[in-house]
Amino acid sequence: MKSMKYNRFVYLALAALILYFPGSPSMGAENTKVIKITAKKFEYSPDKIELKKGEEVQLEFTSLDRLHGFSCPGLGIRIDIRPGQENKLKFVPNKVGTFPFHCDNFCGAGHERMTGTITVTE
């Protein structure tokens, strides 16, 4: 009984920490790194993402205005970023390098400069 109370305390403390630092990378379930990214005309924030090879990551996207996309062909990942909903993309980077990503849903006059990079290190 005492152990269950202790576990509940630990979970609540972890949840509070995640809520307290919403824009920072955090560890989700089963040690998955979580990175929150906002998308709006015509930028991502952050637009430079650093990851470790072999380390599972979950990218959580929020659109602040309209439909955007996130495509990183070098890592073989993409997702639609729809406003008003959570858009989660979980993957394990399997190679080292710097890989450009871009918005692949046409979003307006600055669409072509809506880009960023993912850098994966050992």
Binding site: P73, D80, H102, N105, F106, A109
Partner: protein, 298 residues
């Protein structure tokens, strides 16, 4: 050198037959076959409404110069196709219509009235082609000309750059009416294949269209979007990307980030132009000639 008749057809009459030069060194074919030889002109990525003197110091005059160049041809093409991005993108619906209207007024100065249009994402990606259709009609269609079946595909009105199941079904039904050796030319804005995905140079479901077209032995695809001349052969299909008429892009992957090539005062209009495409009834491929904005053969 200006375009003239020699650039697309060289015929020497011999009674009831003609000798077609460039056809295996000269072959005797029937007069009716030669009569079906023709050429068309491809304009692409005119981006009317774009304004940045660092990129194009003659953004209001470039398209007009190309129109004058085609008007000066001694022999007019059978038709001119505009492979998308007629106008430059704007978030303002009224401004989009203004740009499309101005573009239409300029190309109405062409002597030739057989004009074929298709949209680019700059024209149709923000309103699913609504304004474009008001000025230019349907975004996908077919037409036949002198033994060639032309298919215009729309891979831009859906902002996710999908052709979509409805259009793919329509394409499949159209192709089923052809035989395997039919001469088929496809016009698209974006490349159907993965030309360079890091720069968004592909069509998300393009492979589905390619699968359908791969059942036919004589298929050529002419497209825009990449603002430079590129050619590729894959299977039975040849792909030909066209230069733009407002700004050029660097070769895929040659720079870290895709950016428009700045205007070079020493070489104005460099990287811009249009092309003529020969279609000969007894020749499977389509010889292409590239021209500068002013109509100089390159």
């Amino acid at each position: 050198m200006k375009i003239d008749r020699r650039d697309f057809l060289t015929l020497a009459g011999l009674g009831g037959v003609v000798v077609v030069s460039g056809f295996g060194g000269g072959s005797t074919v029937s007069a009716s076959a030669a009569e079906n030889d023709f050429f068309f002109v491809q304009f692409s990525d005119t981006h009317w409404g774009f304004a940045d003197p660092a990129i194009n110091q003659d953004s209001m005059g470039t398209l007009r110069k190309a129109v004058e160049a085609v008007n000066s041809l001694k022999v007019q093409p059978d038709f001119i196709v505009f492979t998308g991005d007629l106008s430059h993108v704007t978030d303002d619906d009224n401004e989009r219509r203004k740009r499309l209207s101005e573009f239409r007024n300029i190309v109405s100065q062409l002597k030739l009235k057989n004009l074929r249009f298709l949209p680019g994402e700059h024209d149709a990606g923000l309103d699913e082609g609504k304004a474009y259709k008001e000025y230019f009609g349907e975004t996908y269609y077919t037409f036949d000309h002198k033994g060639v079946h032309f298919i215009v595909l729309d891979n831009v009105s859906d902002p996710t750059s999908n052709i979509g199941e409805v259009q793919l079904k329509w394409l499949s039904a159209d192709l089923k009416k052809r035989n395997r050796n039919s001469r088929i030319v496809v016009f698209t804005h974006r490349p159907l294949y993965e030309l360079y995905p890091d720069w968004d140079w592909y069509t998300r479901d393009g492979s589905k269209a390619i699968d359908l077209l791969s059942n036919y032995s004589k298929v050529a695809v002419f497209h825009g979007h990449v603002h430079q001349e590129l050619h590729r052969n894959a299977g039975h299909i040849s792909y030909h990307a066209a230069k733009g008429l407002m700004y050029a892009f660097p070769p895929p992957g040659s720079v870290p980030k895709k950016t428009q090539i700045p205007w070079d005062a020493k070489q104005p209009y460099k990287g811009l132009g249009f092309r003529s495409v020969n279609a000969k009834s007894r020749q499977a491929d389509y010889p292409i000639s590239e021209y500068s904005v002013q109509g100089e053969k390159l």
